[in-house]
């Protein structure tokens, strides 16, 4: 009698345990850790937290934990360290140009290997092609655009009026940039320059600014396999010569290097009439400008051009198939047109897909705030940011070459030739 009771008890408890365990697994289908490259407690943290909470409401079986890593560099370091230590994250937003480093460390998985349905495959193609360039190599998609920016030309309309130029007609091409830049220079009684015409920053991220000039001259800086650069092509040399001459020959720009960090301040203080800077400065300029200012597309040479910047979504390789599916669901949700529109309006990053700009929200926003339209319209002329294997080193080679030319230490041919030679040495083994 007792044995029977005991067996029944055993069966009952086993059934309970099984049932609980089963429902337990069903409840927590996936828990994802995501690294996000913004400062903890910064303004973007709240936006991302809200988005993550909203996602969980619609997908109660997926929980995303956002860990804020401060900036792109920290996010990459943390992510790689976590992978090594065996406590990996499943996805992350990281610098779009980290792609080759991540592939070399075998850290990420291509989206083509995760998508299965036709709808998902279509989704991969729904973004602006220029924004996809930094996320694609070996014909596969490794990064999905999320928070992206471009360079735009800010100009001081009051200064234009002061110099006798039409404030609604910013320079459209290189010739106009040089001539109007010269006209905008204002000197005081003793011949010292009070206001410069143009400032293109050459510290901080000179290669980024240079990417705009070279694209405008019709030349990309690297191939899309990450193992070839074109630093010494004639169009690139011409672009660097133009940049240097803006200062030394035309006198529209100070000669030597121009500091990235103080550029916005210089513009706001009226020290320069035109500045080339990231779309990320839009809100700050709008808030602090004490003058009438405008935003325009960068001027063309053979065509218009600007590099893109910013971060993409990546999925890590050390993940289970369920985790990958869950991460994919999250990323697709984050990049839906409506959400992309909200994100763009809240943060100032550009919309990453054409259908986002067709949502009512963004249509209204762009009508109210024309500079947002400028960034959007320039996207068709945009190109990838400089990215190769050994990307940090290669970038520095180009940065150094640019600075050596702008400070008059080397000629463009010499500097770029040297840089190309050294880049070739670095990249040879990846071919």
């Amino acid at each position: 009698m007792r044995n029977l009771l005991r067996r029944q008890l055993l069966a009952f408890t086993s059934a309970m345990v099984l049932a609980l365990g089963w429902s337990g697994t069903a409840l927590a289908a996936a828990e994802l850790t995501m690294y996000y490259p913004v400062a903890v407690g910064g303004p973007l943290t709240k936006v991302v937290d809200d988005l993550v909470a909203d996602f969980h409401k619609e997908h109660p079986d997926i929980k995303v934990n956002a860990i804020y890593a401060g900036n792109y560099n920290d996010a990459r370091i943390k992510a790689l360290a976590a992978l090594k230590s065996g406590q990996p994250a499943q996805l992350s937003v990281m610098f779009s140009i980290d792609i080759y480093e991540l592939i070399e460390q075998d850290a990420i998985v291509a989206f083509d290997d995760i998508v299965s349905t036709e709808e998902e495959k279509q989704w991969l193609k729904s973004f602006y092609p220029s924004l996809m360039e930094n996320g694609m190599t070996q014909s596969k998609v490794w990064g999905i655009p999320f928070q992206r920016s471009t360079i735009v030309m800010y100009y001081n309309k009051d200064a234009f009026r002061d110099a006798g130029l039409d404030p609604e007609k910013p320079p459209q091409n290189w010739n106009e940039l040089a001539s109007m830049g010269k006209q905008l220079v204002k000197k005081d009684a003793s011949g010292n320059v009070e206001r410069w015409g143009v400032m293109i920053p050459s510290t901080g991220y000179p290669y980024w600014m240079f990417g705009a000039l070279t694209m405008q001259n019709g030349q990309v800086l690297m191939n899309n396999s990450g193992n070839q650069t074109y630093f010494d092509s004639p169009a690139v040399v011409e672009a660097l010569t133009f940049w240097r001459d803006l200062g030394t020959k035309q006198g529209a720009m100070p000669s030597g290097t121009i500091e990235w960090g103080t550029l916005r301040q210089n513009f706001l203080e009226g020290k320069t009439a035109i500045m080339w800077h990231s779309t990320g400065n839009l809100t700050a300029v709008k808030k602090s400008a004490s003058f009438d200012f405008g935003v325009a597309m960068l001027p063309a040479s053979k065509r218009r051009g600007t590099p893109t910047g910013g971060g993409n979504f990546y999925i890590f390789k050390q993940t289970t198939p369920e985790e990958r599916k869950a991460a994919l669901t999250f990323i697709k949700w984050m990049t839906q047109p409506e959400r992309t529109a909200e994100w763009s309006i809240a943060t100032g990053y550009i919309g990453t897909r054409p259908d986002a700009y067709q949502t009512t929200k963004l249509v209204n926003y762009v009508t109210q705030f024309p500079p947002a339209a400028v960034a959007r319209d320039q996207l068709q002329f945009a190109t990838a940011e400089l990215s190769t294997y050994q990307t940090g080193r290669v970038r520095k080679l180009l940065d150094d070459a640019i600075q050596s030319v702008l400070t008059g230490a080397k000629s463009p041919e010499e500097a770029l030739g040297d840089a190309q030679g050294q880049a070739d040495r670095l990249l040879r083994r990846y071919r």
């Binding site: 070399e104 030597g256 500091e259 210089n266 940090g392 080193r393 940065d399 230490a409």
Partner: protein
């Protein structure tokens, strides 16, 4: 029965052990490991590390940036060491005199020492900013045109040197002050009675007596000229075109921006070599000091 001598030995080593473990782990072992690592290639997941002999060194010798950086560091040392020592002596002499507001003056000289270099670098960035920066504004008052101090390869290293002297002189002043205050006052009296000029007194009496301090400060200054790179992170990041880069900064760049551990190890070996030469020099000089004392 354990003899007291053995007990002493064991006790001695036991007491030393905790400190020894940490010292070995973070000073002696890394030195050896760095040397070893410089003979291997940097490994990635897809390309594991392998022995490459002296290849890293060959690369280093052909690296333009490496020579620029070494050149910079030498000029940096030449620029900062004599000047900061001279100013430190001057400061110590002044603070040691009966000048009014002496406490305030001493505080002003010593303040840079208690401030982190990275914090003050931001202020110096403002000083050096063209046109709207303080230096250009002051120059403007005299009608002198401004200059792109940090953006001009010819002036940038000088600017870094000036900031370093500003940071270091007060620190060295303290050592000189201590030495001055330990000088017997009779010497001063004797000189006064004999009617010696202050410059003569300084040159023939004070300065030689300050020699031990000067040696100590010299070694410190040498080491610091290879160690102080904090301000580069804010002011120039080594630019333009490496005109202001220093060896330790380059090592940081190679290791943590380019992820090239082996090449960074190779560069570190050079830095260790320089420090080794300085320490040998110190031991030799100290030896002499002990002898004529």
């Amino acid at each position: 029965m354990i003899s007291s001598s053995t007990r002493t030995q064991v006790y001695g080593w036991l007491l030393l052990t905790p400190a020894a473990i940490l010292l070995i782990a973070f000073t002696h072992y890394p030195t050896v490991a760095t040397l070893a690592k410089s003979f291997f290639s940097t490994g990635t997941v897809t390309r594991p590390t392998k022995f490459v002999g002296a290849e890293n060194y060959a690369l280093m010798v052909t690296d333009e940036v490496f020579w620029k950086v070494v050149d910079n560091n030498i000029w940096y040392a030449i620029g900062t060491i004599p000047a900061s020592i001279a100013i430190a002596i001057l400061m110590a002499l002044w603070v040691n005199s009966s000048i009014s507001a002496r406490g305030l003056v001493r505080m002003a000289y010593f303040t840079p020492t208690v401030l982190p270099m990275i914090a003050v670098a931001n202020v110096w960035l403002f000083f050096y900013t063209p046109d709207i920066g303080l230096i250009d504004q002051v120059l403007g008052l005299f009608g002198i045109p401004g200059h792109n101090w940090l953006g001009d390869p010819d002036t940038v290293l000088g600017c870094i040197i000036v900031m370093t002297i500003w940071k270091e002189a007060g620190f060295f002043m303290i050592f000189y002050l201590a030495a001055l205050q330990s000088l017997p006052p009779e010497l001063n009296e004797a000189a006064r009675i004999e009617g010696a000029s202050r410059w003569y007194y300084f040159r023939r009496v004070t300065f030689p007596l300050l020699m031990p301090t000067t040696l100590f400060v010299l070694i410190n200054a040498f080491i610091n000229s290879f160690k102080l790179v904090d301000h580069l992170f804010i002011l120039t990041k080594g630019g333009p075109d490496n005109a202001s880069s220093l060896l330790l900064y380059y090592i940081y760049e190679v290791a943590f921006s380019f992820f090239d551990e082996s090449y960074a190890a190779t560069l570190t070996v050079v830095l260790l070599g320089v420090l080794a030469i300085i320490s040998v020099g110190q031991f030799v000089l100290l030896d002499k000091r002990i002898h004529y004392r």
